[in-house]
Amino acid sequence: MTALILKNVCKSFGQVEVLKNIDLEVEEGEFVVFVGPSGCGKSTLLRVIAGLEDATSGTIEIDGKVVNQTPPAKRGIAMVFQSYALYPHLTVKDNMTLALKQEKQPKNEIEERVRNASQMLALTDYLDRRPSELSGGQRQRVAIGRAIVREPKLFLFDEPLSNLDAALRMNTRIEIANLHRSLDASMIYVTHDQTEAMTLASKIVVLRDGMVEQVGSPMELYNNPANQFVAGFLGSPSMNFIPAATVGGSPEHTLGVRPEYLRINGAGRLDAKVSHVEKLGGDTNVLVDVAGANTMTVRLFGQHPVETGEQIALDFDDKDTFLFDAGGRRV
């Protein structure tokens, strides 16, 4: 069964079109990540799916039922917010049970679900605390717990990790991945961070200016981007683009090559001057100025004795490059 089907969904605020003709299917058990730069409409799309905003046109189908007119609580979804959005005057347990009490679930059922969720998220010792007495990571786990106890057909995550620090973000990311495996539920996750998208998703939806640019598995998008935007958005450090004419191509085309496929080679095709070196221990990122092109990044594995100001030559294999036309489409 398909968990979510969007057909031709549009959303405008007054004159401003925020979402334009979105078509999308989410299969049962899939982990779908909406990714895109800020202002691309990904959060709005999530809110339209949740029912917090009405779609201007188009249909939203959750679990086989059209839900355009259904209020959020009856759509069989649960949402985790960026700001956690815990009820500040309720304890952790009350936060988690409020929705169930609204649904008039029997008491022992509520207890059972809370026990399971709090064990899964290591929250058992904190059930009587208020949100203000918890750390950021714990609060986020409570917010996730509040979603889990509802046993929804579809989980919605709205940038859930952006308020956490780097170390915690990585841990929580792994927790969410484990959660997806153990619950086997359909999830939609919104982020602007391409690392989160690559690591969590079974399917990535890249959005720009309210339109879907490309849909596919992380490796599909990485290896076979449909256009220059997707190519530049996924991968870190991001793909280098140079006018194809620099290496003897058509003057209308742009050539893209990922930093990890560039080599420093005395007989290389591109002459460059090192402008900055980032030594990360495991990796070395070399930023270079190339004559007739922009700054490029070279990612070298291991440690290399490259210094700022050095003149080097770069080379790459043609099979590792992507060609884009003037409109940014893949050639």
């Binding site: 917090l52 609580a73 949402m79 917010f81």
Partner: protein, 279 residues
């Protein structure tokens, strides 16, 4: 803590200023209180002296009690103040929530219209209000006062509360919607507890003018059974003779309920005033 605050001289100076101000503010209240316990002669002989065994007298309080209706006045004032505050807070908060939360046509216009009342004193409309009350038969009822005070308090309440409601996180309200709470439950259970300090601020700002008002009770409800405390106390003030003992005793007793209400609201009030300023 910074250096200036730890310096003993600065600590002393700031306390001296605050104490001086407290003394000045409390002095009239103090004079009223001590004189309410003195004989009439003693009041005029030495108004600033404390009551001694010679001058001590409860005659003022006895007069007030003997007037008999004093408790009724008291009750009237209390009913009018509490009921007006309740309606101001309830309707003010609801209107503020609607203005802050929902996108609808004329939202800004409606907000401006509601705020207009801050700039136009309600007393300008006294004649029209009296006319209205006479036609609706509400003259000489407490409802007349409650309605007028509610109208008087609403503009500022809507203005202050809508500003605070805008600060309540959207995610929180949306979380409530996803959890299946109705808009009313979201308003009463999620939003109101979070704007409690603002509510207390509005309550205190409205309470004292209502409690002290003489104008509308005199015009709209001067009947014996609907007199408020402030109006009732006027009995003792004559054109030629004023029963100062009774006036001072009545005023001393009138302070009490406002003080009690103030203590209830004050903790919240302080948070209301400093919230946003310190964060």
């Amino acid at each position: 803590m910074n250096k200036a605050r730890r310096n003993p001289f600065n600590v002393f100076a700031s306390h001296a200023v605050l104490l001086t101000y407290t003394l000045i503010a409390l002095f009239p209240v103090f004079v009223i209180l001590i004189n309410s316990f003195k004989t009439r002669k003693a009041i005029f002989r030495e108004p600033l002296a404390l009551p001694s065994s010679d001058s001590f007298s409860l005659i003022g309080y006895q007069t007030v009690m003997k007037q008999g209706d004093f408790f009724l006045y008291f009750q009237n004032s209390m009913i009018v103040t509490v009921a007006s505050l309740f309606f101001v807070l309830l309707f003010g908060a609801m209107a503020a929530f609607a203005l802050a939360e929902y996108r609808f046509k004329g939202n800004t216009l409606m907000g401006l219209y509601l705020a207009l009342g801050i700039m136009i004193p309600i007393r300008i409309g006294t004649v029209a209000i009296l006319d209205l009350m006479v036609s609706t038969g509400l003259v000489n009822t407490l409802w007349a006062l409650i309605l007028v005070y509610t109208a008087q308090g609403l503009p500022l309440a809507v203005f202050i509360l809508s500003e605070f409601m805008r600060q309540v996180s959207d995610d929180l309200k949306n979380a409530g919607r996803i959890d299946g709470l109705s808009e009313y439950t979201i308003f009463f259970r999620l939003v109101l507890p979070l704007v409690r300090p603002a509510m207390a601020t509005v309550a205190v700002f409205n309470m004292i003018p209502i409690w002290n008002d003489l104008w509308f009770p005199l015009i709209l409800a001067p009947a014996e059974e609907t007199k408020t405390l402030t109006l009732g106390s006027q009995v003792f003030i004559g054109q030629f003779v004023t029963d100062w003992n009774a006036v001072l005793s009545a005023l001393s007793m009138a302070i009490l309920p406002v003080m009690i209400l103030y203590v209830i609201f004050s903790r919240q009030l302080i948070r209301g005033i400093t919230s946003g300023a310190v964060k």
